[in-house]
C-alpha cells in the first residue's frame, strides 16, 4: 500500500527529495589550516582565509577530499576523477568572502544509492544524484543584543559534503528512514559524526504533492531541518499545506520555507525574489581537482564494513534479523557486541547485550560509549557460564554486582562464593534433605502427581542458594525419586 494523504478531492501522493549537509570529519578546514573543533572560543579558529581577507589564497585539504571519496564509495557512487570548484555568490553577515566556494557544474561524486528499510520490512532504494564539497559559513547569534547580531567565524570554511538525493521518497517514513540510514553510513565510514544537535548534519527537504499517476507538480524547499523526527513532521506539514492550496483553487509557488518546530508548520522565508540568483562561475583561485585512480582504489581497499554488510554477517553468525538490526544501528554498539562475542557463542552474546545490558543502559540512563559494564567483563561473565562455573541464573546476579562495584565477574564469584556446585555428593545430600522434609509430597509424587518434580528441584536450588548446577540437580532428583 503506498502512502497517500486524503484531501477533499481524493488521495494525494507525496514526492520528496533531500539535500543533506554533512560536516566532514577533519582536523583542519577545507581551504585553511585553522582547527574545526566544535565549541571553541569565538573567532579563535579563524585564519585570514576564513575571514575573507584580501589576497589570501585557498589550498585544499587532502583529507577532506579523501572523506568525500570515501563517502561516495560508501554510497556506491561514481567518483569523478576530474572535478572543479565554483563560486556561489550571495551576501550574508556570516559569509565574509561574499561567496561560498562550492562545486556546481562538476561535483566530485556522481550518481549513487542508499537502501532503506521500512517498519513493515519493505526495502527500497533511494537514488543519490550527487555529492559535492563546499565551505560552511560562520555562525550568527541574534539573541545577544537588541539591535546587533554577533558573528563567530569558527565554522567558516569547515568542509561540508552536500549530498543530494533523487526525488524518490514517497512518505514521511521513507524520508526519515533515508536520513537515518545516511547518517548511519556516514558514521560507519567516519566521514561525519552525524551529531544533529551540534548542526553536523542538516537537511533541506524538497516536497511536492500530486494526484496518483500524475507527473511532478511544483515543489517547495523546507530549509535547515535538524532531526529525523522534524524531517518527518516537516514533510507531512508541508504536504498538507500544499494540498490545501491546490484544493482551494490556488497554485503552489516554488519557494524556500522554514519549519516552525513549535507549531509544527512550515512558513515562507519571504526572501526577495532574486535571493537565489547565485551567479555561479568557476573559482579562479583554484585549478581543477584531479584525483589519481590508484589513490581512489587505495581508499576503496580500506573502507570499513558498512551497516548492511555487518548486519548480514551477524545473521550468518546465527543472530535473529532483529538482533542484527539493533546491534548495527550505531557502530559503537556493534563494536561493543563484537568484543563481547569474540571467541564466544555469538547468539548468547547477542542475548546478553540486547537483554540485560541494554536494560541496564536504559535503567541507568547511560550511553554505549559510557557503559556500566565493560565489553571485556561482560565477555568474561559469558565465559563463566560457558565453562559451568556459574549458572545463567547466578550470572544475572553477578551482572548486577558488576554494575554496582565495577569489579570483574571472576573476582565477584570468588569473593561471594557463587561458584556453581557440581559435586554430585553435595547435591545428593541437599536433595535427600529436601525429600526427607517433604515426605508427604514424595508420596503424592509417587501416586502420580508428576508436577511436583519441579517443586523438588526448586526447593533443592533454594537450599543451595541457587548455586547447584541445574542439570545435575535435575538428574539427582530424578534418581532419588527412583
Amino acid at each position: 500500500m503506498s502512502y497517500t494523504i486524503e484531501g477533499s478531492t481524493g488521495p494525494w501522493e507525496l514526492v520528496i527529495g533531500l539535500e543533506v549537509h554533512a560536516q566532514v570529519i577533519s582536523k583542519s578546514k577545507l581551504f585553511s589550516g585553522a582547527a574545526t573543533e566544535f565549541g571553541a572560543e569565538p573567532n579563535s579558529q579563524v585564519s585570514f582565509i576564513d575571514a575573507g581577507f584580501p589576497g589570501m589564497l585557498p589550498v585544499i585539504n587532502r583529507e577532506c577530499v579523501a572523506q568525500a571519496v570515501r563517502t561516495g564509495l560508501g554510497l556506491k557512487a561514481e567518483i569523478n576523477l576530474w572535478s572543479r570548484f565554483d563560486r556561489k555568490n550571495y551576501f550574508y553577515a556570516d559569509l565574509p568572502q561574499g561567496y561560498q566556494i562550492s562545486q556546481y557544474a562538476h561535483p566530485i561524486v556522481g550518481k549513487g544509492e542508499v537502501e532503506i528499510e521500512l517498519a513493515d520490512g519493505t526495502r527500497k532504494t533511494v537514488g543519490i544524484t550527487r555529492l559535492h564539497l563546499e565551505q560552511d559559513a560562520g555562525k550568527s547569534l541574534h539573541d545577544q543584543h537588541p539591535t546587533k547580531s554577533y558573528i563567530d567565524l569558527n565554522r567558516s570554511g569547515v568542509a561540508l559534503m552536500e549530498i543530494v538525493s533523487e526525488p524518490d521518497m514517497r512518505s514521511p517514513e521513507e524520508a526519515g528512514a533515508y536520513l537515518s540510514k545516511l547518517r548511519q553510513i556516514l558514521r560507519y565510514l567516519g566521514t561525519c559524526d552525524g551529531n544533529m544537535d551540534e548542526g553536523s548534519m542538516r537537511a533541506d527537504v524538497n516536497v511536492s504533492v500530486r494526484k496518483p499517476g500524475e507527473g511532478y507538480r511544483t515543489r517547495c524547499e523546507v530549509k535547515n531541518v535538524n532531526s529525523v523526527k522534524f524531517v518527518m513532521q516537516a514533510v507531512e506539514a508541508e504536504a498538507r499545506r500544499q494540498i490545501e492550496v491546490w484544493e482551494s483553487g490556488g497554485t503552489v509557488e516554488q519557494e524556500t520555507r522554514l519549519f516552525d518546530t513549535q507549531r509544527g508548520l512550515t512558513r515562507s522565508m519571504r526572501s526577495k525574489e532574486d535571493a537565489h540568483d547565485y551567479r555561479y562561475f568557476p573559482e579562479p583561485d583554484l585549478p581543477p581537482l584531479v584525483l589519481e585512480k590508484d589513490w581512489v582504489e587505495q581508499i576503496k581497499a580500506t573502507l570499513p564494513e558498512l551497516p548492511d554488510a555487518r548486519r548480514a554477517r551477524y545473521v550468518a553468525m546465527g543472530l535473529t534479523p532483529y538482533d542484527a538490526h539493533v546491534l548495527t544501528l550505531e557502530k559503537e554498539t556493534a563494536a561493543f557486541f563484537e568484543t563481547v562475542a569474540k571467541g564466544r557463542d555469538a547468539k548468547m552474546a547477542a542475548n546478553w547485550v540486547t537483554g540485560d545490558f541494554f536494560a541496564a543502559l536504559n535503567r541507568l540512563k547511560r550511553d554505549i560509549t559510557d557503559p556500566p559494564v565493560t565489553a571485556e567483563n561482560l565477555g568474561k561473565l559469558l565465559d563463566l557460564i560457558a565453562d559451568n562455573t556459574i549458572s545463567g541464573k547466578i550470572a544475572k546476579d553477578v551482572f548486577e554486582i558488576m554494575i554496582e562495584t565495577g569489579k570483574a565477574p571472576g573476582e565477584i564469584v570468588e569473593e561471594r562464593g557463587l561458584k556453581q556446585v557440581t559435586d554430585t555428593g553435595a547435591i545428593e545430600k541437599a536433595v535427600a534433605d529436601v525429600l526427607a522434609k517433604n515426605a508427604d509430597k514424595v508420596a503424592e509424587y509417587k501416586a502420580g502427581k508428576d508436577k511436583l518434580f519441579g517443586f523438588f528441584v526448586g526447593q533443592t536450588m533454594k537450599a543451595m542458594q541457587g548455586k547447584g548446577n541445574p542439570a545435575l540437580v535435575n538428574e539427582v532428583v530424578k534418581k532419588l525419586l527412583g
Partner: protein
C-alpha cells in the same frame, strides 16, 4: 547582446553596490562596452578546445593538496582588528534576521 537599464540596476543590487539614478546610464554604456569585447573573443574558433577551469586548461596542472594539520588560527585579535564593531571576540553587525 546589450544590457538594459533594469538589468544594470539588478546587477548592482545583487552585488550590494549603490548606484545613483544618474550613474545608471554611464554604467550601462561601460558594461556594454565590456560585453562588446567579450563578443569579439567569441569570434575565435574554439572548435575541439576543452573549456578551461580556474585559469588552467583541462588536463593542465591540477590543484595541489595540503596535509590535514592545524597550522593556523588563535589570532582572534588580528582577525577582528579591522572590524568596525565588536563585542568581546565576536564581530558585531546590524541585526540581520530572516
Amino acid at each position: 547582446m546589450s544590457l538594459d537599464a533594469a538589468t544594470v540596476r539588478r546587477i548592482a543590487s545583487l552585488a550590494r553596490i549603490r548606484l545613483e539614478e544618474e550613474e545608471v546610464g554611464r554604467m550601462q554604456a561601460e558594461l556594454n562596452g565590456i560585453l562588446g569585447w567579450i563578443e569579439q573573443l567569441q569570434e575565435v574558433d574554439t572548435e575541439g578546445v576543452e573549456p578551461m577551469a580556474g585559469g588552467a586548461p583541462a588536463g593542465q596542472p591540477a590543484m595541489r593538496m595540503r596535509e590535514d594539520e592545524v597550522t593556523d588560527g588563535s589570532i582572534a585579535d588580528a582577525v577582528l582588528a579591522n572590524a568596525p564593531d565588536r563585542a568581546n571576540d565576536y564581530f558585531a553587525v546590524p541585526k540581520v534576521v530572516e
